[in-house]
């Protein structure tokens, strides 16, 4: 199952993913309602900027938390989906999510999470550092190991 994978050491915290996701999901520039939200870490001890985005967990905390039982996991794709019709915005999902991924959409008045833009994620296309990929976890693991090998051999250009 393909998921959004973020190469943290490439992320510069520029926020383009956030800005463009908002335009794609909400039709206006509203980064606070974006399905991918940046958490800039300013101190030098944290080596990366973090991102709040739905991880489509194998055992989603939001699924158990939802009072209206509208969150489900597609057995074929593994993607976590929500049937928003019945959502009344209680934000239990956001509270239980370890990553704070669900966001309140002020126009639909419902909670929303990343749905991969229907299979062609916009954030992947606009990240200037190619830090975001839409790939299988196994591919993500392989590319990280190769990157480690490149660091080891001091290869200058990232081949990802």
């Amino acid at each position: 199952m393909k998921i959004i994978s973020i190469q943290r050491d490439k992320c510069t915290g520029c926020g383009i993913c956030q800005a463009m996701c908002a335009v794609a999901s909400c039709g206006r520039a509203c980064p606070s309602e974006s399905r991918i939200r940046l958490r800039r870490q300013w101190d030098s001890e944290t080596p990366f900027h973090d991102v709040a985005i739905c991880r489509h967990c194998a055992e989603p905390a939001c699924l158990t938390a939802c009072l209206m039982d509208i969150i489900s996991k597609n057995p074929a794709t593994g993607h976590v989906a929500r049937d928003t019709d019945k959502c009344f915005g209680c934000a239990a999902c956001a509270v239980m999510c370890p990553f704070g991924a669900p966001v309140y959409d002020t126009e639909t008045h419902k909670m929303a999470t990343c749905d991969f833009c229907g299979g062609d994620p916009v954030c992947v296309k606009v990240c200037p550092h190619s830090a975001i990929k839409y790939e299988e976890p196994s591919e993500a693991a392989v590319s990280r190991r190769s990157r480690q090998a490149e660091r080891f051999y001091e290869v200058e250009e990232a081949r990802l």
Partner: protein, 173 residues
């Protein structure tokens, strides 16, 4: 860091990309197609005008201060007290993949059930006094597993032995 932190050392000069370690690991852990606990990487690059292709096995390093352990929101990852082997408790794992994003080596693997599994340094073999499957299988004897002190001593001895050889050869001139 555990008192006797165990570590894996790969002598990169010896690796020839035979991948016996990968196969032995899969067999030992009964892994289906997909998860690869240890991986041999191929890196092609050019340095000073010379094209190179290097093979580097990238196993789980069982880090002293494991980022995967810190990243896990449910505390499913822990270090064994006696030797610091990093293990995952699948019952607690929610399959969020946060450990994969935190691991600089890309070690965590995700199988069909979506939960994380990874190299255990063949803890069951270590407990029986045996080497991990990859170290056992490597035909070039490139992989060694031991405490940090043991590995450090072994590397120094190897260096000293090669220096002795060089000195002896020089004395023959």
């Amino acid at each position: 860091m555990a008192k006797k932190q165990i570590t894996i050392y790969v002598d990169t000069r010896r690796c020839m990309n035979c991948r016996s370690c990968e196969i032995a690991c899969k067999l030992e852990n009964n892994l289906p197609a997909g998860p690869r606990y240890t991986m041999v990487t191929e890196t092609e690059y050019t340095k000073d005008g010379v094209d190179k292709c290097e093979f580097l096995p990238v196993p789980c390093m069982h880090c002293g201060d494991a980022p995967c352990m810190h990243a896990c929101p449910t505390g499913a990852i822990s270090k064994r007290v006696k030797d610091g082997v990093v293990l995952v408790n699948q019952a607690k794992c929610i399959g969020c993949r946060e450990c994969l994003w935190s691991c600089p080596f890309g070690v965590p693997q995700f199988g069909a059930n979506g939960r994380m599994s990874k190299c255990t340094l063949c803890a069951h073999r270590l407990d029986d006094g045996m080497k991990p499957a990859c170290a056992q299988a490597c035909p070039a004897e490139a992989i060694s597993v031991g405490t940090v002190e043991e590995i450090s001593a072994a590397i120094r001895e190897r260096y000293a032995a090669s220096s002795r050889k060089k000195i002896a050869a020089h004395a023959m001139d």
